[in-house]
Amino acid sequence: MSAQPSPIGEPVLELKALRKSFGDTEIIRGVDLAVLGGQRHALIGPNGAGKSTLFNLISGHYAPTSGDILLNGAPIAGFAPHIINRLGLSRSFQITNVFPRMSVAENLRISIMGRRGHRLTLFRSIRSLSAVNDEVDEYLQNLRLTRRRDSLAGDLAYSEQRILEMGMALATDPAVLILDEPTAGMSRDETTYIVDLIRRVTEGRTLLVVEHDMSVVFTLCDHVSVLVYGEIIASGEPSAVRADRKVQEAYLGEEVH
């Protein structure tokens, strides 16, 4: 898989004084965050902290009320999702979000043919696009889904659907991949497996992950930011964040290993 080069150590994704209100309720209350190139950045926080809203702002699902989002230094706040994707930021979803009545291979092919410029190609047969089809096989292999290539995505086991979903986001070849709770609802073994898979297939990419499972955060990520009530209260290396008094207070009653 070819990865778009991320300038290591430079900010690739920046949020500046980002705010989002729904009616009178302010969900995101001035978030400043910098995700550096090559970083594996975790976003944690209690339920209702605004993590999913923040992802929806970054990926273009919602437009922010105020503030800036910069991708590789260029503003993307309020852009349509497909533009943000083409600029190099792709997301997965918390709920499984595949094309259930299409085969696994075809799910991946949608991503790949789009990236390779066949978004509105009418006068070519899909079978003649050998570069696209070869890459589909490559992704199937990397995601270890080859033996499922002709199954309908809706028939896959839950954890396989989550892997496919992430694979579809990955197959648009983004510089920044944002994953919304990639291990939610999985058993311990499945979690270990998928964390290992994520680490392998996202090699060289910048990663921003919302995750509840602290052991996943500490094995997968090298940087942690904590979001509480729409504000970042701590950001830094996992061990430093774990020791932070404010973080421990925010998680009172919840486990921080």
Binding site: H61, N85, N97, L120, S151, D155, Y158, E160, M168
Partner: protein
């Protein structure tokens, strides 16, 4: 995939269609033309509906525009403004259908689901209201008419000429729509149907894609409308009616929106049904509605879905188990239908003005009525015994027929899963972590 199993039946069907005019009466030949046009309309509608999940309630707009485009072109040729070969007239329908599909589709595809359906319906109603008052374009309430000019050494005077012209366009259009499903945009249509939001986050401008797919559907709808105009040499504003839009929806669902040829099958059968029954009874719309309800209740995948199910699951020699049970089901169905038709037609006769006048003449007595060439007494036990017997026998046999058919089905089908590969029970995602 093109292989012998699909290409042989297709060629056989095509050969049959080519020689068909030799055996048909003029009336049936005309019916065959209308059936092919309806089939093409349904295929075009299903391209938006079945594949991209866009349920348009206003496809009569593009059908009618295609028809009027063809009529105006034919009139220009008739008045010697310029020359244009008659067999190529449907191109005008294609062009106008596509252009209006782009413009109207741009607005309609801003929304999905039921809101999309409502916008398409409103746009078609707009034309339906506008057409009768716009004389220059739509010829007012009486519409416009013209004649088919001779070209390419064919005079296009006979229905047989029109039949072959329609057949040619039907085959070419159906092939194009089949090929469309194999293109990147055709595959994208399926993804849009399944989950439009996900497509947007994969870098596609779904509004543009949906507009394009809708316009392609309207292009072939325009061809169908143009073929109708060529066959009838006339059209008026009623072609834009909501009834016409609803018809293609019903036909597509009866045929099965989930299969490629199902909608064409549904359209052919229902067009033929309408043509036969509308001459026989004024209750034919009731029967058409009943067919729709029954299909939706008992075979929601439609006729095409049923055919597909049999093609996938019945073993090579499985049919010998199914013939007798299916014949039994047919007999049971006919008994029930006969009972129902008797009741419906009796009520219908009794409510006609002619019968009411006879009753008035007999001082309000329930005089005998005529049905199927027989005379029946309204309150005679014999009269009532007919439908009661038919329905009683039918409903007694119904559970028996169902049981026998279910058993035969098990014997006749392979033990294959419903889908290409069953979800594995072990659900083990994945090879154990390395």
């Amino acid at each position: 995939m093109i292989n012998a199993r699909t290409i042989v039946p297709l060629l056989a069907a095509l050969g049959l269609l080519v020689i068909l005019p030799l055996f048909l009466s003029p009336n049936l030949l005309n019916a065959a033309i209308k059936m092919m046009i309806a089939a093409l309309f349904a295929l075009a509608f299903a391209l938006a509906m079945g594949q991209a999940g866009m349920l348009s309630f206003g496809h009569s707009a593009y059908y009618g525009l295609g028809a009027f485009a063809a009529l105006h072109l034919m009139r220009a040729v008739e008045h010697k403004l310029f020359g244009f070969p008659t067999p190529m007239i449907p191109l005008a329908g294609a062009l106008i259908g596509f252009l209006f599909g782009l413009v109207f589709g741009w607005f309609a595809t801003q929304r999905t689901g039921v809101y999309f359906s409502m916008v398409t319906l409103a746009l078609a109603e707009l034309l339906f209201t506008l057409a009768p008052t716009w004389n220059a374009l739509f010829g007012g309430e009486s519409g416009i008419s013209t004649i088919r000019g001779p070209s390419w050494g064919i005079n296009f005077g006979s229905d047989a000429d029109v039949y072959y012209l329609t057949l040619g366009w039907f085959v070419v259009s159906a092939w194009c729509m089949w090929a469309f499903t194999k293109t990147p945009v055709g595959r994208l249509a399926l993804a849009l149907r399944d989950n439009e939001q996900r497509v947007r986050f994969l870098g596609f401008n779904t509004h543009v894609a949906r507009t394009l797919i809708f316009a392609i559907s309207c292009l072939f709808t325009g061809v169908a409308g143009a073929l109708l105009a060529i066959a009838n040499e006339a059209a008026n504003y009623t072609i834009f009616s909501a009834q016409a839009s609803a018809n293609v929806v019903l036909q597509t669902f009866i045929g099965g929106a989930g299969t490629f040829f199902g909608p064409a099958l549904g359209a052919m059968i229902m067009t033929f049904f309408a043509r036969i029954t509308s001459d026989l009874t004024r209750s034919w719309l009731l029967y058409q509605g009943l067919i729709f309800v029954l299909v939706m209740l008992f075979a929601p995948q439609g006729l095409g879905g049923l055919a597909d199910l049999h093609a996938r699951k019945v073993r090579t020699n499985g049919w010998k188990h199914l013939v007798a049970p299916y014949l039994l089901c047919l007999v049971v169905g006919l008994l029930l239908i006969a009972g129902l038709v008797f009741v419906v037609e009796s009520i219908h006769v009794v409510l006609t003005d002619a019968y009411l006048a006879k009753r008035a003449a007999a001082k309000g007595e329930w005089v005998p009525y005529e049905l199927f060439g027989q005379t029946f007494e309204p309150f005679s036990p014999v009269t009532w015994a007919i439908p009661i017997m038919l329905v009683a026998i039918g409903s007694t046999l119904l559970p028996v027929a169902r049981r026998i058919t279910a058993r035969a089905w098990l014997a006749a089908t392979r033990d294959v899963p419903d889908e290409p590969i069953a979800p594995s029970a072990s659900a083990a995602p994945v090879a154990p972590p390395s």
